[in-house]
């Protein structure tokens, strides 16, 4: 008889029940009736397990009244068989449906050897120790990664082509032109904010023309580089981490390694170079957009003419200060590329790990941007 175990039992299905019979001394028969499926509520096996005491030598089953069954029945039976096995009771499975017998046999076939057991709960000291070791390992990875990048740069300088030019142009385009709209918006608004804050204060002294100085210097020295850095960290750094992380998951990076292609040269270097070159350009663009944004306030609120405002802004900025912003932007570009690619390369083999790599890339980039910004400013004004 072919069992039809899976058609979801209609509402009139009989409830799953077992009854115990003792046909002879030492014999116990379990009669299974009703529908034993994932959707029913099978009885508690406790009193059956208790009935398997020393008096029982042989265990039989009957399943004549069994209408439906699925894995729900099987786990019920495994519990019984386990107990019977421990108490050295002989089990005769002939009374079970053939499908059930086959699945039970299949589940008892020799399993794959478990090679190691994943770690469970650990002592605090062990965990602290592991954390420290992980930190050391982290440091080592960063050092190795830096070294590999330097080697790739040397290879590039030596005239080799560690990556495809086409890739490089794509990254240039993606982080350069692709970022213009969002950089325009943010930089212009930052210009407006700076100008607005300055206007309220400087108007009190009748020195509203100096708003142009404030906006110009503010953008060129700090905000242009900082804002484009933060935008690119979110827009590009995150995507680098996700790209490399996914490649790590798919073993694409391993494939590059085994072909003797340096993943750092092939994947990381073009990305970092693209950011190093494009972020300064974006910074210049952000400076201009910021000053233009500020001039809107100057013209509408402070009765300055546009030419006046721009001329005043230009006079306030020295070329070296302009260069300072560009230098910062370039450093930020390298750091963002570095953080994004490093996190991507360190990514584990799961979707969750890719997500963590992305988050961590953005956080690391922003921390690095702010820290290096203070550091560079300190060095230049010491």
């Amino acid at each position: 008889m072919q069992q039809e175990p899976h058609l979801s039992p209609d509402t009139g299905a009989q409830p799953p029940v077992f009854t115990l019979m003792r046909p002879g001394p030492g014999d116990l028969t379990v009669a299974l009736t009703g529908s034993w499926t994932l959707h029913g509520h099978p009885p508690d096996p406790t009193n059956l397990l208790a009935a398997l005491d020393q008096t029982v030598r042989r265990l039989y089953f009957t399943s004549d009244g069994l209408t439906h069954w699925d894995t729900r029945l099987l786990i019920f039976l495994t519990a019984i068989l386990d107990t019977a096995g421990q108490r050295q009771i002989v089990v005769d499975r002939a009374g079970l449906p053939p499908g059930v017998r086959r699945l039970l046999t299949l589940s008892e076939a020799v399993p794959e050897q478990v090679t190691y057991s994943p770690t469970g709960r650990e002592l605090l000291a062990t965990r602290v120790g592991r954390a420290v070791l992980a930190l050391v390992e982290q440091g080592r990875e960063v050092a190795t990664f830096t070294g590999e990048i330097l080697l790739a740069i040397l290879a590039l300088l030596a005239g080799k082509k560690p990556f495809k030019a086409q890739d490089f142009w794509y990254f240039i385009q993606n982080c350069g032109i692709g970022s213009l709209p969002i950089v325009s918006l943010i930089a212009a608004l930052v210009g407006v904010i700076l100008s607005f804050v300055g206007a309220v204060q400087l108007q009190m002294f009748g020195a509203q023309i100096y708003v142009a100085n404030l906006v110009g210097l503010g953008m060129v020295l700090e905000m242009g580089a900082l804002m484009s850095g933060v935008i690119i960290a979110g827009r590009i750094g995150a995507s680098y981490a996700a790209q490399l992380g996914t490649m790590q998951v798919n073993e694409e990076i391993d494939a590059l390694r085994t072909m003797g292609i340096s993943p750092v040269g092939f994947l990381v270097l073009p990305r970092i170079l693209a950011l190093m070159l494009m972020l300064p350009l974006l910074c210049v663009y952000a400076d201009i957009m910021g000053i233009l944004g500020g001039s809107v306030i100057g013209v509408t609120m402070l009765d300055l003419s546009l030419v006046e405002f721009l001329e005043q802004a230009r006079k306030s900025i020295q070329l070296s200060q302009f260069g300072q912003g560009i230098l910062k932007a370039s450093v930020f570009g390298v750091l963002i590329g570095f953080a994004g690619c490093l996190r991507g390369m360190q990514c584990g083999r799961s979707a969750l790990a890719v997500g963590e790599a992305t988050t961590s890339a953005v956080v690391t980039s922003i921390v690095l941007i702010v820290v290096s910004d203070s550091f560079i400013t300190y060095l230049l004004y010491r």
Binding site: P5, H6, L38, I75, P98, L106, A353
Partner: protein, 258 residues
């Protein structure tokens, strides 16, 4: 013997990606309890056909019926009820990488049944033991070999005791022994669970060993060239392309025993 009941019927199906038509006018029937093989060369649209059957891709024309129900004419909820009765083993395994094996197998059970966590844990342990992975509950997919991953994916596919099992190249990438064991496992599960099985494969050994019915897709003709039991096709099919495929290019009409 009861007459075979159609489980899945494909009617006048045309499959296309945008304006690029892969296959047209597919017509065949899969009976309940069949082991149905979708054959054909690489890129002829076997995986795509499977995607049409499990509701991942809408037909350009024609339809797929489950029993008497026209799958693509149903609303979303009704489709979901049908698909819930199907277990799918994807070509790449598609285990959820950030969950342990136990969590992978437990997810459909948690989602579709009201069972208590203890019962689910028992069920998961049993499913894993069925595929020879007892004791691997706490492992992540990335910690397993390819064959083990396939079997873990199989355990997930059978988590809900499905009526229909779909396999996309289950033995691709496995060594011959593991591939044969997996075939054996699929056969055994079909026998015991009484499920209808649809397999995409181009492993001739598997095809002859386990198939009871089949369809042959061809990318040149852009349609099916034959349907029926592959052993019968080997003896009777007149189409040179099918014959060439079934005899691995030798043209000899006898089943290579494996």
């Amino acid at each position: 013997m009861t007459p075979p009941a159609p489980a899945i019927t494909v009617k006048g199906l045309t499959m296309a990606y945008g304006s690029y038509v892969l296959q047209r006018d597919l017509d065949f029937t899969i009976n309940r309890g069949d082991i149905f093989v979708i054959m054909g060369g690489s890129g002829c649209g076997k995986s795509t056909l499977l995607r049409h059957m499990i509701g991942l891709k809408q037909p350009a024309q024609g339809t797929v019926c489950y029993g008497k129900a026209d799958f693509w004419a149903l609303n979303e909820d009704e489709r979901a009820t049908i698909i819930r009765r199907a277990g799918v083993l994807y070509q790449s395994g598609a285990l959820w990488s950030s969950m342990t094996l136990a969590e992978n197998v437990a997810l459909p059970l948690q989602h579709y049944t009201e069972l208590s966590p203890e019962v689910i844990a028992d069920l998961v342990a049993f499913k894993l033991s069925l595929v020879g992975l007892a004791g691997f509950e706490a492992f992540y997919p990335s910690e397993l070999s390819g064959g083990m991953r396939k079997r873990a994916a199989l355990a997930r596919a059978i988590a809900l005791d499905p009526d229909f099992l779909f396999f996309d190249e289950p033995s691709a990438g496995l060594d011959p022994i593991s591939a044969r064991n997996l075939d054996q496992l699929i056969l055994e599960l079909r026998e015991s669970l009484g499920a209808t099985v649809v397999i995409v494969t181009h492993e001739l050994a598997s095809i002859y060993a386990i198939a009871t019915n089949s369809v042959f897709l061809d990318s040149e003709a852009k349609t099916m060239l034959a349907t029926g039991n592959p052993k019968l096709l080997l003896r009777e099919c007149a189409d040179p392309t099918v014959l060439n495929f079934l005899t691995r290019g030798t043209g000899q009409r006898e089943v290579r025993t494996v």
